[in-house]
Symmetry: C2
Subunit: 425 residues, 2 copies
């Protein structure tokens, strides 16, 4: 439901960027108390205006149904009183987090007497591009505020009215705290051209965080002139080492695959040492099949478990996000590590073993943002890591790898204190 | 002096990228001793083959002269026995640095018993694109090796033979240490098309570090599909606060501008509080003019110092890299901070004042990679910061801000150790 095409879109976007940059300076200087007040007042506004938010959402839902959106899309779009309350509680939880800004990360003195400190500061202006979930407006906006940033939000056209109503509440909170409302702005239109302009505004925006499906992320990577923090693929593995305990293997694999199949930390491929496949695979696969999971196995797996269907090479690189698991036998730990590094997406991978030395070998050798021993890959989550809240999980290697929480939305600067030092020849 | 156009350039670049990725895995697993052995053996090879390196350089120099390159370009290109020895000593100094890989940056335990560590690991494959200085081959290559990375080097066509001879020495060192030579590779051709292909190889290269002039950096930013760590502009400021001591102001400004005018940390604009301009500017400008500096002043500055020429708006944003200084009066510290944030390049800016509170206000308010109090901006350098060596100074905000040393060529991963934990609903 795009709004009308705006004739002077470029200058309007430019003004929006300038306003964000100016607001970012005020946010960077804001004390913790002001930022937390803004978040708590925003939570109060969400509760006070819950009815108006649900009405706005009802109009988005009606339009989405008229356009024939899928049930899954509708579910992501829908707000309920409980979901509005969860957003409000989320804002309050973010207010409780430590303020990362101002922390001295390191400090040392040079022989010439210069005192050098590396100090955490906000990133600046963050561009957030997301799809149908309107709650991203609250979650991502609040994390940006907490870290002392300004944000420019571009939600999906389906959630236009819902996101606008939520953003109004957050901006009311910011105003209540005496901070500049322009710290959180949304694009003036859902026209796709605005996203193109946004991705080129490198003088106004410091980092782009896209949240959504693969086609959105790929478009952003391809077009952006601004650095991107994004989650691309979560092709996660569980590897059953020859020293894996059967009962633990059953529990971890079932949980890693089936607890929720649609999240990026869900396991997509199971590797099992050939030497123990006959012992360990039957109960593991039985538990999966009983839970409704389809098994795609290599030749040997299909022999062990006749209900498995034959896997093709494509399966080793696929992120199903569904109740499907690719299963393959490997000849020991090095083969498992090689397979994961070659076919995985460097997101989250776990080894199940009672052999501590083998575990350490796996943890060192697998080149992923998160490597695990005897734990479910579904723990790949900022909240589960104790980071409070996350804006996503980054699969890039620079700046933020893994969960992107409040701390990852900051950078640092060097503060050098002298007493008249000049540099000799 | 481009080599012949290579018909199968794309597949050749692809093979080079694959080899780099494979070598990066071996480098990531290499113990400190092997990496340091490689660097020391590389230094020995540079010394042993100094004559061959100087011969290769002589042929590059002859071709450059024939092409009519400027004296400054020729100076950057030229190698001497002393410069070869400096490269060798540089490799040995990098071998002495702490190994950043494997350091636990943080470690904590969750209520469910999961033990989570954030551990420093190499970045992976680094693409380095540089211009005429052949010593970048040694410096940048060695930093990449020390941090456990692989690197793909693309030097300028003018330094083709010199860089090749230097790279051969580093590769001999890597081979001596039992590490894969493919950890350091150069492009098969100096054809510009190869750079285009390189900037699109996001599956093989994790970060691009360009080193050179503005046009190179801008091309890389515009074309790269890979994250870029680069130094763009160094429009650095010195601000003389009303509480500045005159003698210190004279020393710091002269050093910040004139010690070396061609480096990114050289001051380009001087701001001075209007209230003290009559007292402090005359001796400061006298010292600069005596040292051969041209002054471009605003109206008031031109009245105080008749030898100054009138500045235009363009001067506030210009990085002269020359013996020229823009000078402007401001109405107090907030105006100074606003001017620097609006016109500067967020590189390095310094306040001179005896007032500690004013200094802290400046250090907090100026949004630059390096902010200084009572020190020359020419200290903006990894070596001066005690970081041992640097591959450049990043003016971006993400990942590495300021000097890019060995530590900034790493990333981290999360290592999660459990005992069978699964995630509840």
């Amino acid at each position: 439901m795009a709004t009308a095409r705006i004739p002077d879109l470029e200058p309007q976007m430019h003004r929006l960027g300038l306003a964000a940059r100016e607001a970012a300076r005020a946010m960077a200087a804001a004390p913790r108390s002001a930022k937390d007040t803004a978040l708590r007042a925003g939570a109060a506004a969400l509760r006070a205006r819950a009815e108006a938010i649900l009405e706005a959402n009802a109009s988005d839902m009606a339009a989405a149904r008229a356009r024939g959106l899928s049930g899954a899309m509708l579910d992501r779009l829908e707000l309920t009183p409980a979901r509005v309350e969860a957003m409000a509680a989320g804002l309050e939880a973010i207010a409780e987090l430590e303020d990362p800004v101002g922390t001295e990360l390191a400090r040392w003195r040079r022989p010439n007497g210069l005192d050098i400190a590396r100090v955490r500061v906000p990133l600046g202006v963050i561009g957030i591009i997301y799809e149908s979930r309107p709650n991203v407006t609250a979650d991502a906006g609040a994390l940006c505020v907490k870290a002392g940033n300004a944000a420019i939000l571009r939600g999906g056209s389906e959630s236009f009215h819902s996101s606008r109503a939520i953003l109004d509440c957050l901006r009311a909170g910011i105003r209540d705290a005496g901070l500049p409302e322009a710290a959180l702005q949304s694009l003036p239109t859902t026209d796709r051209a605005a996203v193109g302009i946004m991705l080129g505004m490198h003088e106004h925006i410091d980092v782009i965080v896209p949240r959504g499906g693969r086609s959105l992320i790929e478009r952003v990577y391809a077009e952006s002139r601004i650095p991107v923090l994004a989650h691309l693929d979560g092709n996660c593995h569980v590897y059953l080492h020859e020293a894996a305990e059967t009962a633990m293997a059953v529990e971890i694999v079932r949980n890693a695959k089936m607890r929720r199949t649609g999240i990026c930390g869900a396991a997509e491929t199971l590797l099992c040492d050939r030497a123990v496949a006959e012992r360990i695979l039957p109960p593991v696969l039985e538990a999966l099949i009983a839970a409704g999971c389809e098994i795609r196995g290599d030749e040997e797996v299909c022999r062990i478990e006749p209900r498995a269907v034959p896997a093709t090479e494509e399966d080793w690189r696929t992120e199903y996000l569904d109740a499907i698991l690719a299963v393959k036998l490997v000849e020991g730990i090095d083969a498992a590590i090689d397979h994961i590094n070659a076919w995985g997406s460097h997101h989250t991978d776990s080894i199940v073993t009672a052999d501590r030395a083998a575990a350490e070998r796996f943890l060192a050798g697998v080149d992923s943002a998160i490597v695990m021993h005897n734990a479910s890959t579904q723990f790949a989550d900022g909240g589960e890591f104790g980071m409070g809240a996350e804006i996503g999980i980054s699969t890039g290697r620079l700046h933020a790898r893994g969960p992107v929480g409040v701390e990852q939305l900051t950078t640092f600067k060097y503060v050098v204190r002298g007493s008249g030092q000049i540099r000799p020849r």
